[in-house]
């Protein structure tokens, strides 16, 4: 397992797509920051705490991280299937389990990197261009919110990876991930409404997790971590069960 992890990280850091993805995240974050600041209902005084919270919620939960994460993950983690280079690994005795978990670790590290680049860019843009001012307490909340968002996006990243593994054709898995990301929460919300289920469906839906985190709430760690662990276990089981009997063409 450790050899495969070393190899996966070598690939992650030597693949130009990783760095292009991070630069893209920074550019995208600038665009998102501008859009939020210029949108009608955000034209509030950004020195106001409520407006600041709204800025960061819109920035992190809805836009800045999820799109770059989806694009980067779809690009980075499907080439081995497209190039069929993973069969050289399996033929050399590396188990599909080791291969999958090395990629899980990589995608989680990628999530942290993308989240970090996004929040750094967002903060720099907010401070320099929008005149954002934050005190120590707000910065502490922001840091906590950043960590929660990273875990929540990590949950989505695991689902993205599992779908890429199960489908293996990059174009199809990326499209499906995009559809699930955009319409999944919407469809589940409608179902919840129709069946009077409260938030039973969206509450456990990976792509909805970032939107469920409140900026100032204190008791969300357990729920977020439970959902993360559940997705990690279920997605791993699904991938490994399917892969166990699958041939590599």
């Amino acid at each position: 397992m450790k050899h495969m992890i070393r190899a996966s990280f070598y690939k992650l850091f030597h693949d130009k797509a990783t760095w292009i993805g991070l630069v893209g995240t920074a550019v995208w974050s600038l665009l998102v920051g501008s859009m939020i600041a210029w949108s009608a209902d955000a034209k509030l005084d950004l020195s106001d705490t409520y407006a600041l919270e709204k800025y960061w919620r819109d920035f992190m939960a809805f836009h800045a991280i999820r799109i770059p994460l989806l694009v980067s993950a779809s690009t980075l983690f499907t080439t081995e299937f497209k190039d069929k280079s993973w069969k050289l690994l399996i033929a050399r005795g590396i188990s599909k389990t080791s291969f999958f978990f090395s990629k899980v670790l990589c995608i989680l590290v990628l999530t942290i990197m993308i989240s970090f680049v996004a929040i750094t860019t967002g903060a720099a843009y907010g401070t320099c261009a929008l005149g954002m001012q934050t005190d120590g307490a707000f910065a502490g909340n922001l840091f906590r919110y950043f960590l929660l968002q990273t875990v929540a996006h990590g949950t989505a990243a695991i689902l993205i990876l599992a779908i890429s593994f199960l489908i293996k054709i990059g174009e199809i898995s990326s499209s499906l991930n995009m559809v699930l990301m955009i319409f999944g929460t919407m469809v589940l919300s409608k179902l919840e409404g129709a069946l009077s289920l409260g938030d039973a469906l969206t509450g456990s839906w990976a792509f909805a997790q970032p939107m469920l985190i409140s900026f100032t709430g204190q008791s969300e760690w357990i729920r977020i971590l439970i959902v993360f662990a559940a997705y990690l276990i279920l997605c791993s089981l699904a991938v490994l069960l399917v892969e166990r009997s699958r041939d590599i063409e």
């Binding site: 190899a7 130009k16 080439t79 190039d83 033929a91 009997s245 590599i248």
Partner: protein, 303 residues
């Protein structure tokens, strides 16, 4: 001899169609085993099962005398189908990445492989910008990482120019002679394969129809003149005295095989008659590997 691979009734079916059927083969240490067959004969499927890429429908594969498959496969290098390389990494980065994954990343290993497959000056090139021949060399290089004991090479000469084919052939011979590396190779270039192989397995329709050693095949495909003569002792004397060759073989009381003068049958007949030997029949026999293969396939198709 130490067993490297043994299969027992190995079968692979896809939707009821048997791509490989009841194959029993054994490869021993030091063999260069050539797997020969037409397209769709089941060679690649058999190789995939040996390398763990395909799960057998029935039967078993025993590697390195019953070593656990995941452990055994660390001792194997594979090139199956087209060169499967990470197209977004450079030549060197591909080797670096696979060396780490195989647990054989140490100082100089990647340079050794680059040198071995003649890719040193292309090390920094992106895979997208390399030719098929270069990709093939690199894929062979990846298979050689960590000096495996057993190599599975499916059509390794594909895409190589004549010089490249010669270099790879020499490399395989060197690995076999110096490191006792066992090699399973499939190729359409029968003449090329025959220059390195020590054992042959012929496949058709998913079945392994014949296995031969290098000597057996040589014997079967040796070209010679087969003569039916009145006196084989006299005929042998004519060979030695008149024709000046000892390269003959007396088969029975009236048959002799002459391995020289193969294209000069009239000269042979004249010498025999002059030596007082009556020649009842003279036949040119023997075939190249290609002819042998074609005849084998035709005979199999008739059955």
């Amino acid at each position: 001899m130490k067993g490297i691979v043994k299969t027992n009734a190995l079968t692979k079916k896809y939707h009821g169609f048997a791509a490989v059927s009841e194959v029993n083969m054994s490869i021993e240490k030091g063999d260069i085993y050539a797997l020969i067959g037409e397209n769709g004969a089941g060679k690649s499927t058999l190789m995939k099962m040996l390398s763990g890429l395909a799960t057998p429908t029935s039967g078993e594969v025993i590697l390195f005398e019953n070593q656990h498959p995941e452990v055994a496969r660390f001792r194997m290098g594979c090139l199956i189908d087209s060169p499967a390389l990470d197209t977004r990494l450079s030549v060197r980065d591909n080797l670096e990445m696979f060396a780490r994954a195989f647990g054989c990343h140490k100082a100089g290993e990647v340079d050794r492989i680059l040198e071995l497959v003649g890719m040193t000056k292309h090390a920094g090139k992106a895979i997208r910008k390399t030719s098929l021949g270069m990709k093939q060399r690199l894929a062979i290089g990846i298979a050689l990482l960590g000096s495996p004991d057993f190599l599975i090479l499916d059509e390794p000469m594909n895409g190589l120019d004549p010089m490249g084919i010669q270099e790879i052939r020499q490399l395989l011979k060197k690995l076999n002679e110096e490191n006792q590396t066992t090699i399973l190779i499939s190729s359409h270039l029968l003449d090329e394969v025959s220059k390195v192989a020590t054992r042959y397995g012929f496949m058709k329709g998913g079945h392994l129809i014949q296995e031969l050693s290098e000597e057996e095949l040589e014997e079967k495909s040796k070209t010679c003149l087969r003569l039916k003569v009145s006196d084989t002792a006299k005929a042998a004397m004519v060979c030695e005295k008149e024709l000046g060759t000892e390269n003959y073989e007396v088969i029975d009381a009236e048959t002799i095989r002459l391995f020289d003068y193969v294209d000069e049958s009239s000269k042979v007949v004249t010498a025999m008659v002059r030596g007082g030997v009556e020649v009842g029949e003279i036949v040119h026999v023997g075939e190249s590997l290609e002819e042998f293969f074609n005849n084998l396939m035709t005979a199999e198709a008739r059955q």
